[in-house]
């Protein structure tokens, strides 16, 4: 049996036998989760605003203006076409990337469209103000989460796979792909893929994202030249920052999709109030019942 030290005495709700309340998310986890969600959203949108000031990416120390890895441009046509070039391949992205309607509805030359940027108009300094404020918020909030998680045991519960989970890794992948979600005792803990994903986001993507952001600062490069070595130059760091942002978006999309698919209201109640319902398939074997009461 996995340890389920998170269960607290559940409120007497008179629920039917196969539903059990579990207190899953302590207040610090809930608050840092939502602050983090807000930070990621603002950082993404203000980041795209900043990107739009020079919508091209390069590798190395400097910008090789003629050979970008990615660029978003507009043509001289009337109306202009949006053209996106990725690794030498060109795509027509009119209306989305390169050229898209601005606030007045007229086509504007801009990398990402106005509904994806913060502020929505072209406003580099506005975007920078939002970005730096929420970058500080993300880092401080993340530090609080990690410290609390470390000392409360929450982090281990959330990201470290247990031995039996590692053994049944392949089976878990299959369950995940077929969207079969664990029930009963198994639902009390995070599954192995979930834990590994959170671990990658927490200990790889977010730290790399912060470091790549710092590597773009000329003052930070003076203080910590290893930042440039780490990313192979400032322009590479900018590219890494962009790619990791995309990976974080991918994580959020999958995360939200799984929240919806595995019981939207239960998950939302869990992250808002802490209380989560464990559903049990009714399998009338005496042993199961005993086990459940023990848990």
């Amino acid at each position: 049996m996995p340890r389920t030290y998170l269960t607290r005495s559940a409120p007497d709700t008179g629920e039917v036998e196969h539903r059990r309340w579990m207190f899953r998310h302590p207040a610090v986890i809930r608050i840092t989760h939502w602050v983090n969600a807000l930070c990621l959203l603002v950082l993404l949108m203000s980041g795209l605003q900043i990107f739009n000031a020079h919508p091209a990416l390069y590798w190395g120390k400097v910008s090789t203006f003629d050979t970008p890895l990615l660029s978003m441009t507009s043509t001289e046509d009337d109306p202009p076409k949006g053209v996106t070039t990725v690794l030498g391949r060109t795509f027509d992205t009119t209306g989305w990337l390169g050229s898209s309607p601005g606030a007045d509805g007229e086509p504007a030359d801009r990398g990402f469209p106005s509904w994806l940027t913060l502020p929505s108009d072209q406003d580099l300094t506005g975007g920078r103000s939002w970005h730096f404020f929420f970058a500080w918020a993300l880092v401080l909030n993340g530090a609080l989460y990690l410290l609390y998680g470390l000392f409360s045991g929450q982090l281990r519960f959330r990201v470290v796979p247990q031995r039996d989970q590692v053994r049944h890794f392949a089976a878990s992948v299959w369950e995940h792909l077929t969207l079969r979600f664990p029930e009963g005792d198994e639902a009390k803990r995070y599954n192995v893929i979930q834990k590994l994903t959170y671990a990658v986001v927490l200990f790889v993507l977010l730290p790399v994202q912060v470091l790549a952001g710092l590597a773009m600062s000329p003052a930070m490069d003076a203080a910590f030249p290893f930042l440039l070595t780490l990313f192979d130059g400032r322009q590479s760091a900018r590219t890494v920052h962009f790619v990791v942002a995309a990976l974080l978006v991918l994580f959020v999309v999958v995360h939200v999709a799984l929240v919806v698919l595995s019981g939207f209201w239960n998950n939302m109640r869990g992250m808002l109030t802490g209380w989560f319902v464990i559903e049990r398939r009714i399998e009338p074997t005496a042993g199961d019942d005993v086990r459940e009461h023990r848990a």
């Binding site: 929505s120 730096f132 404020f133 000329p218 930070m220 003076a222 030249p225």
Partner: protein, 306 residues
């Protein structure tokens, strides 16, 4: 028959509407004074922390000859429209004199030949534009500290202001025949030579800045020329030089001839081009709109270490 909207399309519509409202709300929030001040605390924190991390002598990375960019992208003003500047440029800046004044014991006037006789520093460094791109160039010039030491600062001295030749915003006055921008060019008043890639959309902050300029009496009829300011920590940094050479040749007009500031631990917009006068002050509150620089007056942060 009008089909009643499905639950899904209602939900999608509601989400889109909520998203739009949120975005509009964020825009309005971003324009509220108290909120803008709150956001700015992030940039204040950048200055505070970076000043803690960097000593006065910490050098920006320097690069090898092989790293020099084949083309050093000029940005902002690339050819100052001002008649006085054009006259200087025609005579290859033979009549150019750098003025050093303000809170100094000995005001100076230095020709290019005199500047070249002062101790010099050559550095291969990376230039980072606030827009996101970078170029590496080899700069040769006089360390600003050499000039300030000769002029001898008065005890009230706190900031060094660079007054430039290039007109940014037209006044009623003569003197310029077009406008341009310097080093930051994401704006509505960007120079026509700007790369289209950089997005020619309207920059709200710029138009706001212009309105503000129209509103204040000081700038009603005088053209607004580029200016910048740095504090004494940056002014006496060993890599802070007034450069007269780029890649071993006289500084081209597009890159700020005859003299430009190199401030290697900062973004490009701090590194004033076409420097005419170095002015030592106690406060920059009375200069321009009072924020310490042309782009600062348009909303950019005074500290540009990130």
């Amino acid at each position: 028959m009008i089909q009643p909207p499905s639950r899904r399309s209602l939900l999608l519509g509601a989400t889109a509407a909520a998203g739009t409202a949120m975005l509009g709300g964020c825009d309005r929030l971003g324009e509220a004074d108290w909120f803008r001040r709150t956001l700015k605390t992030g940039e204040d924190a950048n200055l505070f922390v970076q000043r803690l991390l960097l000593t006065e002598r910490t050098l920006a990375p320097e690069y090898a000859q092989a790293d020099i960019s084949p083309w050093f992208k000029p940005n902002g003003t690339e050819d100052p429209p001002d008649k006085a500047y054009k006259a200087l440029a025609r005579r290859k800046f033979a009549d150019y004199r750098l003025e050093v004044g303000g809170l100094v014991e000995t005001p100076l006037k230095l020709s290019l030949a005199e500047l070249r006789k002062l101790p010099s520093r050559t550095q291969i460094t990376r230039h980072d534009c606030v827009e996101g791109w970078s170029c590496i160039g080899k700069w040769t010039g006089v360390p600003l500290s050499e000039i300030l030491d000769r002029a001898r600062l008065k005890s009230q001295a706190r900031y060094v202001v660079f007054r430039c030749a290039d007109t940014m915003d037209q006044g009623e006055d003569e003197g310029a025949e077009g406008d341009g921008t310097e080093d930051v060019s994401s704006g509505g008043n960007a120079s026509p030579a700007m790369t289209k890639q950089s997005g020619g959309g309207e920059d709200k902050r710029d138009s706001g800045g212009q309105q503000a300029a129209e509103g204040s009496s000081a700038s009603d009829d005088a053209p607004v020329r580029y200016y910048e300011s740095i504090d004494l920590v940056d002014a006496f940094h060993p890599q802070t030089i007034l450069a007269y050479e780029l890649n071993g040749k006289a500084l081209p007009v597009a890159n700020g001839a005859p003299l430009r500031l190199r401030l290697e631990r900062n973004l490009g917009y701090k590194q004033a081009k076409y420097v005419m006068r170095v002015e030592v002050v106690e406060s920059f509150a009375d200069i321009g709109e009072g924020k310490g620089g042309y782009w600062e007056d348009q909303g950019y942060a005074w500290y540009a270490g990130i």
